[in-house]
């Protein structure tokens, strides 16, 4: 369980208070038939710019701009506050104009991808640590290639022992598919055991056709298969952790672009 930081609790409290005050103010103005869209819109736009600055902070890591963890806390709290302000700004369940619908869709997609990313960041590291082996993402393909070469060598070596190519042929027919590249990605993400079951069945199928000498190499294939399964899991989980920002950040950029455009249009036509 992560320790709850006292400062982040304070920020959560202050933000909740500020959003509550804004919603109360909006309610009191609306009951007097006043307009609040400009105020909530500008606050929302300012907040979105602030949220986008988190990514800029990452690019400026050489400048002492505070800890990234503090920025992330503010990013999460600000993102949640933006949802309430967004609801207050549009004042309805779904806007009517096409342009506003695009903007609203982008906003919701950015929020959803952010929430999903945050959840993944809380959920996946623990699974990665427990699953092991720890390996840098960029090194995994090379390690998989090394395992593939070793597996092929083990399958070939069995023929030298027995004079039969049973294991070699079986490797080409069946196991080569598994060693070719990362497999069962979705199952790994869901925490399933399908790869282990698949591998065990394949190995059991061939076991009865082998001599004791060949079984030594089959045993090596089994070990390599188990190691690859663990590495595949690392690859799948790390791919997901690295992929979600690829959705979140471009969507956020598009949202900011449309928000600026929306601001210009509102000022031009509201005169």
């Amino acid at each position: 369980m992560r320790a709850v930081n006292r400062n982040s609790l304070l920020v959560w409290g202050l933000t909740a208070g500020a959003v509550g005050a804004l919603l109360f103010w909006r309610h009191s103005v609306i009951t007097k038939l006043g307009a609040t869209a400009f105020v909530t819109g500008y606050i929302l736009f300012g907040l979105m710019v602030f949220l986008a600055l988190y990514n800029t902070r990452k690019k400026l890591s050489m400048v002492p701009l505070g800890r990234a963890s503090s920025w992330l806390t503010l990013h999460v709290i600000g993102g949640l506050a933006a949802l309430f302000i967004f609801a207050a700004h549009i004042g309805t369940f779904w806007p009517l104009g096409l342009a506003e619908q695009v903007l609203a869709t982008l906003f919701l997609l950015v929020s959803a991808s952010g929430a999903l990313g945050y959840y993944l960041q809380l959920w996946l590291p623990g699974r990665l640590a427990r699953r092991g082996p720890e390996m840098i993402y960029d090194r995994i393909p090379a390690e998989l290639a090394r395992m593939r070469a070793e597996a092929e060598a083990a399958a070939m070596a069995a023929a030298d022992v027995s004079g039969y190519d049973t294991l070699g042929r079986y490797y080409v027919e069946s196991l080569a598919w598994y060693f070719a590249r990362p497999r069962f990605s979705l199952n790994h993400l869901l925490g399933g055991r399908r790869p282990e079951v698949w591998l065990r069945r394949r190995l059991q199928t061939i076991d009865r056709l082998l001599s004791d000498g060949e079984r030594v190499h089959l045993k090596r294939l089994e070990e390599l298969g188990a190691a690859k399964t663990a590495l595949d899991a690392q690859y799948s989980l790390q791919t997901l952790l690295k992929s979600w920002p690829m959705v979140h950040v471009p969507l956020a950029s598009a949202l900011l672009f449309f928000a600026v455009w929306h601001l210009i249009v509102v000022h031009v036509y509201a005169r």
């Binding site: 990452k58 890591s61 400048v63 002492p64 963890s69 640590a129 092991g132 082996p133 790390q238 952790l241």
Partner: protein, 541 residues
């Protein structure tokens, strides 16, 4: 060393005084001189040892004159040190556009200036940095003279402490350099050398070591002198522990040789004094079942056996040691005999003033982390990069931040020792016992003047790789450097110019280590191993 060299050396008065018969046949004097020594020549102005450097050898002056520079010592420029400098906010921001597309770009003009101060030899490790204007240095500094027959450097060689002064050749000089192994044998088998080395140690270093310990801190000068006269010192284990440790890591047998560690004091025996660790590390363990359970480890300034010794003195009954003390790689120990403690120390101290020995108050299930830290020698680190893998999202923001603050190339790898959801990454740990600092021919790797972290002066590094080979944890890397135009820089023989690089803890950056600041989940910390174990930062489940 040729036979003729050894013959000539045997005729030197300092060596001729040694009785060769005292040495056992398998460690003959001639063999020690031949295998552990070499004759080194220095030209006028050559620096022989630098203040602050670590070394594993001592020197006997055969001919010529040398000068010992007294405090405050030579300027950092002459020593090849890096001037402490912290970037301003603007300078740190400017890295955004000053960082080049090609990593490891250097200003070649600076190297030309530095090269003028180094006398390169065929072997990089024999390169000497020299002082150009010796008369001026002699005018501006207080110096002492060393002549033929004098010995120096033995304290640093045997005690793993930094060299206390800079020594340079005033006139051309010839020295006999002897490695710590040979020096240890000479001290062991020749009473003359033993007396010489021990007296030197008592005169120069013992007072400050004893005075720093709470047991002796408030003693009167005369009593302290009496204690100093009776203190015994001994070195256990191998000075080159990093070499055997690396071999163990490569063979995957680290931690398996704990039973073979040299025993300093055995559990169940009556202690013959209190042990003070002067340098290196020792393991405190106790018997449990059929094995030894690690209680903790001791480093410089720690003591062992005090509670038993004090208890025995107070009760008048002998008390046996509750734990064993063994050398972890290498340890330099002082032993204060029981009789000295009983006469000069215990009567003058209240029971509350007696520092407590280590106590074990954790469950066996929590031992694994301590055992791992000790077996992997991670206890050496003062700024180890500890990553909580249950928090780390593998975003590599730490690596990117390190790269952007170090000219485009990160100074660590997010990979390393993993244990139970924790990783100690391949980043310089700024060790207590910095073996990387032994043997640097130009003094480029050194402790930062103010921050105390281990840094490399890029200007004076000649890329020989001595530090990288010595680092037991593979945390120093050689990189090939490029000119501002992006071309690989080469020397006169068209070989790429290499520089040693490692984590410098962002000592010149405002705001501290960029890696720590860049972690969005507070998963990465720089920790002192002793604080880590003492304060239980890592809690076991």
């Amino acid at each position: 060393m040729t036979d003729a060299d050894v013959d000539a050396l045997m005729a030197n008065p300092a060596i001729a005084a040694i009785k060769a018969d005292n040495f056992p046949a398998h460690i003959a004097l001639r063999a020690i001189l031949r295998n552990d020594g070499r004759i080194v020549s220095f030209e006028s102005g050559d620096i022989v040892v630098r203040e602050g450097d670590y070394g594993n050898s001592a020197f006997l002056v055969l001919s010529g004159t040398l000068r010992v520079v007294m405090p405050p010592g030579l300027s950092r420029d002459l020593l090849g040190r890096q001037a402490p400098h912290k970037k301003s906010l603007l300078q740190s921001f400017a890295q955004l556009w000053r960082n080049r597309r090609v990593p490891e770009v250097r200003d070649a003009a600076r190297y030309r200036d530095i090269a003028a101060h180094a006398r390169r030899s065929k072997s990089d490790v024999n390169t000497h940095v020299f002082i150009q204007d010796v008369p001026r240095v002699l005018d501006e500094n207080r110096t002492a003279t060393l002549v033929a027959g004098d010995i120096f450097g033995e304290l640093a060689a045997l005690g793993r402490v930094p060299r206390s002064a800079t020594i340079f050749a005033e006139a051309d000089a010839k020295l006999f350099e002897i490695r710590w192994q040979g020096l240890r044998e000479l001290r062991r088998y020749d009473p003359g050398w033993k007396r010489r080395i021990d007296e030197n140690y008592r005169r120069n270093a013992l007072k400050s070591h004893l005075g720093a310990h709470p047991l002796f801190k408030s003693m009167e000068a005369s009593a302290l002198e009496a204690v100093m006269d009776r203190v015994r010192f001994k070195t256990y284990g191998s000075f080159d522990w990093h070499v055997t440790y690396k071999q163990m890591r490569e063979s995957g047998t680290e931690g398996e040789n704990a039973q073979e560690e040299p025993i300093i004091a055995a559990e169940g025996t009556v202690p013959d004094g209190v042990y003070l660790v002067r340098a290196g590390f020792a393991r405190v363990s106790m018997r449990l079942g059929n094995g030894q359970r690690t209680v903790t480890y001791l480093g410089a300034g720690d003591h062992f056996g005090l509670n038993e010794t004090y208890g025995a003195w107070k009760s008048g009954e002998p008390i046996r040691l509750q734990h064993s003390l063994t050398a972890l790689g290498y340890v330099d120990v002082l032993r204060v005999p029981v009789s000295v403690l009983a006469k000069h120390v215990f009567p003058n101290l209240a029971e509350s003033q007696i520092p407590q020995d280590v106590r074990i108050d954790r469950a066996i299930k929590d031992d694994a982390f301590v055992e791992w830290m000790v077996d992997e020698r991670l206890i050496n680190g003062t700024q180890a990069m500890l990553i909580d893998l249950e928090r780390c999202v593998r975003c590599d923001d730490c690596v990117k931040a390190c790269g952007s603050t170090h000219g485009g190339n990160p100074r660590f790898i997010r990979h390393g020792f993993v244990f139970d959801g924790w990783m100690v990454a391949n980043a310089c740990m700024h060790c207590r016992d910095p073996v990387c600092m032994i043997g640097c021919p130009t003094g480029a790797i050194h402790r930062h003047e103010t921050a105390g972290v281990v840094v490399i002066n890029d200007d004076t590094c000649i890329g020989c790789g001595t530090c990288a080979r010595s680092c037991p944890y593979d945390n120093i890397r050689l990189v090939e450097v490029a000119s501002p135009s992006g071309d690989l820089m080469v020397d006169e023989q068209n070989r790429p110019i290499a520089k040693a690089t490692k984590c410098d803890l962002c000592v010149d950056q405002p705001g501290g280590p960029a890696c720590v600041r860049a972690c969005p989940h507070d998963a990465l910390r720089r920790v002192d191993a002793s604080a880590l174990l003492a304060h239980d930062i890592v809690t076991s489940g």
